[in-house]
């Protein structure tokens, strides 16, 4: 067998199976470092053996067995006392697992790994790093690059997190049913953070950073599959798919932000949009609404409009009102004001923006005066719009934003 298809198969198995192999090894050995080390060895072994023996029918099972055998070897070599040998003996015997087994025949421990990595006793930074290392299989160097940290800093963060899990007695399990409602949002939050980090990466950013979106989607897919009763898990997956579908259209050749209105809708990923809508529809059928489903519904309204004029702004305004009940933040209120301004006309949006300005909650946020400017411009109150655009220009923090605002300001006929 030639090596290239084998390399591709090992690469695919790495993406699909890494987290599963590590998760199983952590369960059987109770040792996170050993689990990672042995998973790595198993993939190295696959690169040696698969060209000779062929790609196994169930790569995941093959890799898990290889990793487990490796762990037994390591433990046996290190074994000094009877207690250690008992540990080895216990590991060699894998009882027929009952729950969590799919057609691949390997028990799926990734859900407990996700909950453990995202335990609230760990700092948010540690949760993110652990999730990328143990579940997605990114190297410490890659995670460091993705989060613009030095490699030693990231390595220290990972070591500290693993020690804390061990020393503080953070359990390796899916929390019992009564704890799920408070713990699940933590897992969803980490995946969403990963996605947003990738989504905000500019075109010139490190590829690892850009790929965070793909990693986040992959993990969200796993989570939605392993928690089929959790509507918000599906909601999060749908939200990611619908945003990611518009990724290419978001920036122009100069790397400037292109507004939804001006995006070339032909470049949107139709398959991703279709999947996002399908996943969202399935989630909504459970009638357990939550912030991710509502945000996905808003994204779906945008993604399914053939032209900007077809956008169902009335529906979007209603959804933002709903979202504000889950996430009562001033940014959500501002988006609601924008949607009302589109649905009912700019005059209807102005009082909502004025109320937000009076509250002082978004003081210093350039999109607040920019929104007021936009409403005024559409009402034909150009001199007032120009004043508001200048106010927004003062507050904007990136060149791309400033270029956009200057273009708009020029349209009002006022001097820049």
């Amino acid at each position: 067998m030639s090596t290239d298809p084998v390399r591709a198969a090992v690469g695919a198995a790495f993406r699909d199976e890494w987290g599963r192999v590590v998760a199983t090894l952590i369960r059987t050995t109770g040792n996170w470092d050993l689990a990672e080390e042995c998973a790595q060895d198993a993939f190295a072994l696959a690169l040696q053996r698969w060209p000779r023996d062929g790609i196994p029918g169930r790569p995941g099972a093959w890799l898990t067995t290889a990793a487990r055998n490796r762990a037994i070897d390591v433990l046996r070599r290190k074994a000094v006392g009877a207690a250690k040998l008992r540990e080895v003996a216990a590991m060699s015997y894998e009882p027929e697992p009952r729950a969590g087994v799919d057609e691949s025949g390997v028990p799926d421990d990734r859900l407990r790994l996700m909950f453990t990595c995202c335990h609230p006793a760990l700092s948010l930074e540690a949760r993110v790093a652990l999730t990328l290392r143990t579940l997605a299989g990114l190297t410490t160097a890659e995670i460091a690059r993705a989060f613009l940290a030095s490699e030693p800093t990231m390595a220290k963060r990972l070591v500290r997190a693993k020690h804390k899990i061990q020393n503080a007695g953070i359990p390796y399990r899916v929390p019992p049913a009564h704890l799920l409602p408070e713990r699940t949002p933590g897992v969803l939050g980490v995946l969403y953070l990963l996605f947003n980090e990738g989504y905000s990466a500019t075109a010139g950013a490190d590829l690892v950073r850009q790929n965070l979106c793909a990693e986040a989607i992959r993990l969200a897919r796993v989570l939605a599959t392993l928690m089929p009763d959790e509507a918000e898990a599906a909601g999060l997956l749908a939200l990611m798919l619908l945003h990611d579908a518009r990724r290419a259209a978001r920036l122009d050749a100069r790397g400037d932000l292109v507004t939804l209105e001006d995006q070339d809708r032909g470049t949107w990923d139709a398959a991703a949009i279709a999947e996002g809508v399908r996943v969202l529809t399935g989630a909504l059928r459970r009638e357990e609404p939550g912030p991710y489903q509502v945000q996905a519904a808003i994204a779906a309204c945008h993604a399914t409009a053939a032209t900007p004029a077809d956008t169902d702004w009335a529906q979007i305004a209603a959804l933002y009102e709903r979202l504000a009940r889950f996430l009562p933040t001033p940014v959500v209120e501002l988006n609601h004001a924008v949607a009302v301004g589109m649905a009912q006309g700019p005059a209807a949006g102005l009082p909502l923006v004025a109320a937000l300005e009076a509250s002082g909650k978004l003081a210093g946020y350039h999109l607040l005066p920019a929104t007021r400017a936009d409403l005024l411009r559409r009402l034909g109150r150009l001199p007032e719009a120009a004043v508001a655009y200048r106010e927004a220009l003062e507050l904007a923090s990136t060149d791309a934003e400033r270029r956009f605002l200057r273009r708009r300001l020029a349209e009002t006929g006022g001097p820049a």
Binding site: H119, A121, G169, I170, P171
Partner: protein
């Protein structure tokens, strides 16, 4: 695993201390978690002991003059951190003060 629960609060917590633990002690004993428990006299009655260059240095008051002071402590034997957090959250002091949950080194 053993966990130390440090029950902390400001001066107003002293008033609560009189109220007792509202059945918490009994519940945790029944569940087999509670190993040691005890309330403390106010921090003003503390003596701080240090030995430097073989000299005994004594001072009045607690080691750290902070607003939040330790008012009591418990040692729990729990399966894991989640169980310890759940037990701490059920303690009445969690609703007016702070409970620090510290994993203990193995004996």
């Amino acid at each position: 695993m053993r966990y130390l629960l440090l029950i902390c609060g400001d001066e107003s917590a002293a008033a609560h201390a009189e109220e007792g633990c509202g059945g918490w002690t009994e519940e945790m004993t029944e569940r087999g978690l509670l190993q040691v428990t005890g309330g403390l006299r106010p921090p003003a009655e503390a003596r701080t002991v240090r030995v430097r260059r073989r000299q005994l240095l004594l001072s009045d008051g607690p080691f750290a003059e902070t607003k939040e002071q330790i008012a009591g402590l418990c040692i729990l034997e729990c399966a894991d951190l989640d169980e310890a957090i759940e037990a701490a959250a059920r303690h009445p002091a969690a609703s007016y003060g702070t409970i620090e949950v510290r994993p203990m080194l193995p004996p």
